[in-house]
């Protein structure tokens, strides 16, 4: 093999089928984990009961544990993992920056600010909405700032995003500092670190809808994203509507990320690391990368959340801590590899 050549990349369809099977298996297995003493058989019987087949062997309360607590949580973890991973991949393509993540344009800082304000006002009911609006406001500010500097370019947008994120974070800290009383900082901290502890069926509805509505346009954009490989001029010469594609993909990604963050807080590293990991195996072509990274993201977050709620049973870690513990060393490895390649 000559230096620099590569093995044939594995067939995408095969990989997708395998990952799909692993995802289904993960859902089935993850739902059996938890501090309550319920056997896997009982868990699955309960699930089947709710799907319309057979009776549940569990008491109403314990059946509730399976169907109202564990099931929606596992499903939400899958959706959020998929959404964040895909958003990260798209952001990295749009900004041509391998260190981009879904939160780059102020999305997570804005969502955090919205969430913290609502948590402190005691109106936790509208938390997802407040977080989503916060994300959109931050995005709007980022784009306004980027355009005020002249023509909008990827690097300007990233810089504007950094500025807006810093501002939103500062405001969040200020709000916490001035108004937090007693131990309400605990809830806030848990949200800021990213947690799926509050995921019930409404969260499943929100995240699945977001995946369907946003996911389809994103998956269709695979070939177009590939055309960005050599920059805007090259993409234009290849017939791509650079501005239009960039704006619409950005909007769709922002909506997707905003929906995810509103449900689970800002879970880090999923959108940053997983696209790179999947690229290592299937290469950079987005028609393969996007669907596969979604599957990998779903599987990853299901198990990260399972670990988060099982490792220190009965105490729960916010899942953002688990993804950070896994993600940070992997990120360092990635950086080292890039320096070696460069």
């Amino acid at each position: 093999m000559t230096i620099g050549s590569r093995h044939a990349r594995p067939a995408v369809a095969v990989l997708a089928a395998v990952l799909g099977a692993v995802l289904v298996a993960s859902v089935i297995l993850a739902v059996t984990f938890g501090p309550a003493d319920i056997s896997p058989g009982e868990v699955w019987a309960s699930v089947m009961h709710h799907l319309g087949l057979g009776a549940t062997p569990l008491s109403e309360l314990r059946d509730g544990i399976v169907w109202e607590l564990r099931m929606p949580r596992v499903l939400t973890a899958a959706a959020v993992g998929a959404g964040l991973a895909v958003s990260g991949a798209v952001m990295q393509a749009l900004t041509r920056n391998p260190l981009a993540d879904p939160y780059l344009l102020g999305l997570s800082s804005g969502a955090s600010l919205g969430a913290v304000i609502v948590l402190l006002l005691g109106a936790a009911i509208i938390l997802p909405l407040a977080a989503f609006l916060g994300a959109l406001v931050a995005l709007g500010l980022t784009l306004t700032l980027a355009s005020s500097l002249g023509r909008i370019t990827p690097s300007r947008t990233i810089l504007a995003g950094v500025a807006v994120s810093a501002l939103a974070s500062a405001l969040t800290s200020l709000v916490i500092f001035w108004w937090v009383t007693g131990d309400s900082y605990r809830e806030i901290l848990s949200w800021l670190l990213g947690s799926l502890a509050g995921a019930r069926w409404p969260a499943v509805a929100i995240t699945f809808t977001a995946i369907l509505v946003a996911g389809i346009p994103i998956l269709l954009s695979g070939r177009t994203l590939d055309a960005f490989a050599f920059g805007d001029t090259s993409a234009t010469a290849l017939g791509v509507n650079v501005q239009g594609v960039r704006w619409s993909l950005l909007a769709v990604t922002a909506l997707l990320t905003g929906a995810m963050v509103s449900v689970s807080g800002s879970i880090g590293f999923v959108g940053l690391i997983l696209p790179h990991a999947v690229r290592l195996v299937v290469g950079p072509r987005h028609r393969a990368l996007l669907p596969l990274v979604a599957l990998v993201g779903a599987i990853f977050l299901i198990w990260a959340d399972t670990a988060a709620r099982s490792l220190f049973d009965p105490r729960e870690l916010p899942v953002g801590i688990v993804t950070a513990i896994i993600g940070a060393p992997v990120f360092a490895l990635l950086l080292a590899r890039r320096r070696a390649d460069a």
Partner: protein
């Protein structure tokens, strides 16, 4: 927390030095010289403080219970209103801050002692580091039950620890707490634990993840004396995060709700009822709640009265 009190030893030494006679042994100790103790790992000595700044309700109320309101020059970071019986006494006390006071605000009152309810109140951006205050001639004291640094392997809090704390504070201020302590002891002994094997959850805050009373602090003391088994007793901290699945699995008979201005009992009931699984808990369906105000939920002079009060609430639930 369970600090070795050198004060009784010193009292004994003073008595011996002033002459061995039967009369001397029974006479009240003479307030003379400094008292020294180890508080949260730091050796501190006091000279009958006259100008005290208290941080948090637990410390303010401790001094009010000992009748020492005249010595308080300022308070900060109250967790709730002072109980009725001390309202008049507390009326004249200046409030420096709603939250942790700044070091400058504290020093501006020229105190000789800062008495804090949480160890974290003594930080550079709070009331000031303990060493710094000491070097400026201001003594510092933390409620012994709140000492974090000693929590690694010290045994769980007991009622005796609380009485010892009251006595220690009294001796620092060179006053007498024997009456107060014996009253509280008697009240505690009069409380009959509920019969049967009843379980309870001490729900302090949180919605997605409940923050509960664990096995080693004031909540455990209260539940023990009420005769209730704490479902989160395995948690080796005074308060710790828990999870709803475990709560539902245990299905506690009673839920203790900590009531505060920022997180009321009503709000917690709302959280329990909004969660589709906890809404089906026996305690929630049948409204078997005990309510305790936040300042009384931390170890201190209100713990025993709280036990008495909750015992009454528990009887009314008619669980037996």
């Amino acid at each position: 927390m369970t600090t070795r009190l050198t004060v009784p030893a010193m009292v004994a030494a003073i008595v011996l030095l002033t002459g061995c006679s039967a009369a001397a042994v029974t006479a009240p100790p003479e307030p003379e010289g400094d008292s020294t103790t180890t508080n949260c790992g730091i050796e501190v000595s006091f000279s009958n403080p006259q100008r005290v700044v208290t941080v948090k309700s637990s410390t303010t109320e401790m001094l009010l219970a000992l009748g020492l309101e005249d010595r308080i020059v300022g308070t900060a970071f109250a967790d709730g209103p002072v109980p009725e019986q001390w309202a008049d006494a507390a009326a004249g006390i200046p409030v420096i801050s709603e939250k942790v006071p700044s070091e400058e605000a504290v020093l501006g009152l020229e105190p000789d002692l800062v008495y804090a309810g949480w160890e974290s109140n003594f930080s550079a951006d709070g009331a000031g580091e303990r060493s710094e205050l000491q070097s400026l001639g201001v003594d510092t004291y933390v409620s012994p039950s709140a000492c974090q640094s000693l929590s690694a392997d010290h045994p769980a809090l007991t009622a005796d620890d609380i009485f010892a704390e009251i006595s220690e504070v009294a001796s620092i201020f060179e006053t007498d707490a024997t009456l107060l302590v014996s009253e509280q002891r008697a009240a505690l002994e009069a409380v009959e634990p509920i019969s049967g094997d009843r379980t309870a959850l001490w729900f302090s805050s949180g919605s997605d993840t409940p923050f509960v009373g664990g096995g080693t602090g004031a909540p455990q003391v209260v539940l023990d004396h009420l005769g209730l088994t704490n479902i989160a007793a395995e948690l080796g901290q005074a308060w710790a995060p828990f999870n709803w699945e475990a709560v539902v699995d245990e299905n506690p008979d009673v839920i203790v709700l900590v009531d505060s201005a920022w997180n009321s009992a009503e709000k917690k009931i709302g959280v329990l009822e909004a969660n589709p699984v906890t809404a089906r808990l026996d305690a929630v369906v049948n409204h078997r709640y005990l309510v305790i105000p936040f300042p009384a939920s931390e170890a201190g002079v209100r713990t025993i009265p709280a036990i008495v009060e909750l015992s009454g609430q528990l009887r009314e639930l008619e669980l037996e």
